[in-house]
């Protein structure tokens, strides 16, 4: 066989069905929504049993969010077995998670005749979510709709429907594009459990940063872009005082101003004590992070 091995041969249908068994729902809470899907596809025995499966290390690394090493591990597995389409899919998604815009690779998987419909549908789901995250809502809707209409795997079908519903709630102008499947959506809406809805939801923004210190951040940005290049690196600490200021202002708002004041007073002492030297360019700097000076704000912390 020239193309990737058909997933039917390794029982992927059973795997997909097992993927959404409630006993594994605990893993949904893994930080990245959507990780669950791909994670659990591979947790189950594919060609072998249990944790001794060669893919299991790649799957574990993916689940741990160690995407860089996961990609390497997938490359190693692909070199050994070019037809392992589960690993190919995992690698594509890991690249996506590691910040690389890998929509093209996912699109190729969805369109290639070498992949089984099950793999193509998995890739389509991830592709649609990637479009949604990047604000490309029309493409996201198109992919979800295709998946909703073509998927014969119950869990994927439900998630596609639920995602369309959430997308329309977020962007009501898209409603006119789903008139043809509205009845089907209404019919299956009763099957969307709270967990499915949570899993499908994409929050528009991550952790909110404090905006109270924004004017000071502008000043520091101005210094960093216009003045600092002319002066060169003068601070002996890592992060530099301006970077430390930016971080503390983002994290603590105006309190960051006090942290900057404290840092400038402490700098010579830190340099004299030489803790954790870091080589930057041609000079040694000394580590002095925001976390070392705000750890006591977190309740329950005793010591570093």
């Amino acid at each position: 066989m020239t193309g990737p091995r058909r997933m039917e041969q390794i029982g992927i249908d059973r795997v997909i069905n097992l993927t959404f068994f409630p006993k594994f729902r605990g893993k949904v809470s893994l930080a990245v929504s959507g990780t669950f899907l791909f994670l659990l596809i591979l947790v189950f025995p594919l060609k072998c049993t249990g944790e001794t499966c060669p893919e299991s290390l790649a799957v574990d690394l993916f689940a741990e969010g160690n995407f860089g090493v996961c990609i390497q591990e997938c490359s190693r597995l692909i070199a050994e077995d070019k037809g392992n389409e589960t690993v190919l899919l995992l690698q594509a998604v890991a690249k996506m998670r590691s910040g690389k815009d890998n929509k093209v690779e996912l699109k190729n998987i969805t369109e290639s005749p070498h992949y089984s419909p099950a793999t193509a549908n998995m890739a389509r789901y991830e592709l649609a979510r990637a479009h949604w995250k990047s604000g490309n809502i029309r493409n996201a809707l198109e992919q979800f709709k295709k998946l909703f209409e073509s998927s014969d795997q119950g869990p994927l079908f439900l998630r596609a429907g639920c995602s369309i519903n959430l997308l329309i709630k977020q962007y009501p102008e898209l409603a006119e594009h789903v008139c043809d499947i509205k009845n089907q959506l209404d019919t299956c809406s009763s099957l969307w459990s709270g967990k499915i809805i949570d899993e499908c939801r994409i929050s528009p923004a991550g952790k909110k940063e404090s905006i109270a210190g924004t004017p000071v951040q502008w000043m520091i940005s101005f210094y960093r872009s216009q003045i600092s290049p002319a002066l060169g690196r003068r601070c002996s600490l890592q992060p530099s005082c301006s970077e430390y200021g930016m971080q503390s202002l983002k994290k603590h708002g105006l309190l960051g101003l006090a942290m900057i004041g404290d840092r400038t007073v402490r700098e010579p002492d830190v340099v004299a004590n030489k803790p954790s030297p870091v080589r930057i360019g041609n000079r040694w700097c000394y580590k002095d992070t925001v976390e070392e000076h705000d750890w006591w704000m977190t309740p329950g912390r005793n010591r570093k």
Binding site: D269, W296, G300, K304
Partner: protein, 299 residues
């Protein structure tokens, strides 16, 4: 006769292939094991941990697999990936129950690193009590556990219990007991007091013994307050506003510094005490013996 020769030939061929397969498998394992050791010695503990995980996956015998998972946990501990330490130890214990004590030791270390002191106390107590019940001989493990336990109890503010834990150590550790006594004599700084004293620039730093910082804070604030007063006298309100902004930074910095310095003082005092209790005692696995776990101790 010809048939027998044919059978004998087939048998030889089969044996040859089996030997080749075993040798190839063994060389892969040896190579990966060597790579893991080299990565660990280069300080690339996370990469070493991944190689040990790979070895665990390749291993068919449960006891040996447990050893590799344990080694992976140890490397993750060195890489300060505490969640993964617990995950690897879970797997190690799933594969073998013979390494419980060694696992508990690593679990306790990981819990201390992650600031989960109650968990660490539980694990260390398990080691000490288990050894008392089973009358196992490795007194070195118990000594290490007792010292770690004392450190945890001190971090929780329970110096009496820490002293008691040290007295249970099979190897006497007078330096550690002295360290606890010395810690008891000293006094922590109150961050609230530090903050209030920081209202007078520099005084918060002095409270925690940071005299150089105090002088710098005092001089900076003094200069800027003087400049503010001067510009106000001259009714130069633009300069006054700019100076006020900077003075606000130094002044709030003085208060914040007073609080932070007190926390820093307490943390340093605690860490010095724990260091003195441990008194250079440490353990490390003999990586060349893996997957058999053989701990080396230093006192």
């Amino acid at each position: 006769m010809n048939i027998d020769k044919h059978r004998f030939g087939s048998l030889l061929t089969l044996l040859f292939f089996i030997t080749c397969a075993i040798c190839t498998g063994s060389s892969v394992t040896d190579g990966t094991s060597q790579l893991a050791r080299e990565l660990a010695s280069e300080g690339k503990h996370e990469s070493a941990a991944i190689e040990y995980r790979r070895l665990a996956l390749l291993e068919e015998q449960q006891n040996r697999r447990a050893g590799y998972y344990w080694a992976s946990a140890y490397e993750y501990l060195k890489a300060t990936k505490y969640d993964l330490v617990q995950k690897m130890l879970d797997r190690a214990e799933d594969n073998s129950s013979d390494i419980i004590t060694e696992s508990l030791l690593i679990r306790a270390e990981a819990s201390i690193g992650a600031d989960k002191l109650t968990e660490a106390e539980f694990y260390l107590k398990s080691i000490i009590e288990d050894m008392e019940q089973t009358k196992k001989s490795p007194s070195k493990i118990k000594t290490i556990a007792a010292k770690k336990m004392a450190g945890v109890l001190i971090a929780k503010g329970n110096t009496g219990e820490a002293r008691k834990a040290l007295s249970q150590s099979p190897v006497p550790c007078p330096e550690s007991i002295r360290a606890v006594a010395s810690y008891e004599k000293g006094r922590n700084r109150n961050p609230k007091v530090g903050g209030i004293l920081g209202l007078i620039p520099g005084l918060g730093y002095i409270y925690s013994g940071e005299y150089a910082n105090a002088i710098r804070s005092f001089i900076l604030n003094g200069i800027f307050i003087y400049a503010m007063a001067d510009t106000a006298d001259r009714e130069e309100w633009g300069a006054f506003t700019a100076l006020t902004f900077f003075e606000l930074t130094w002044y709030t910095g003085s208060i914040y510094g007073g609080i932070d310095a007190a926390h820093r003082f307490n943390k340093n005092r605690l860490n010095s005490c724990i260091e003195a209790i441990n008194c250079k005692s440490a353990f490390a696995p003999d990586l060349s013996q893996l997957p058999v776990i053989s701990l080396k101790f230093e006192f």
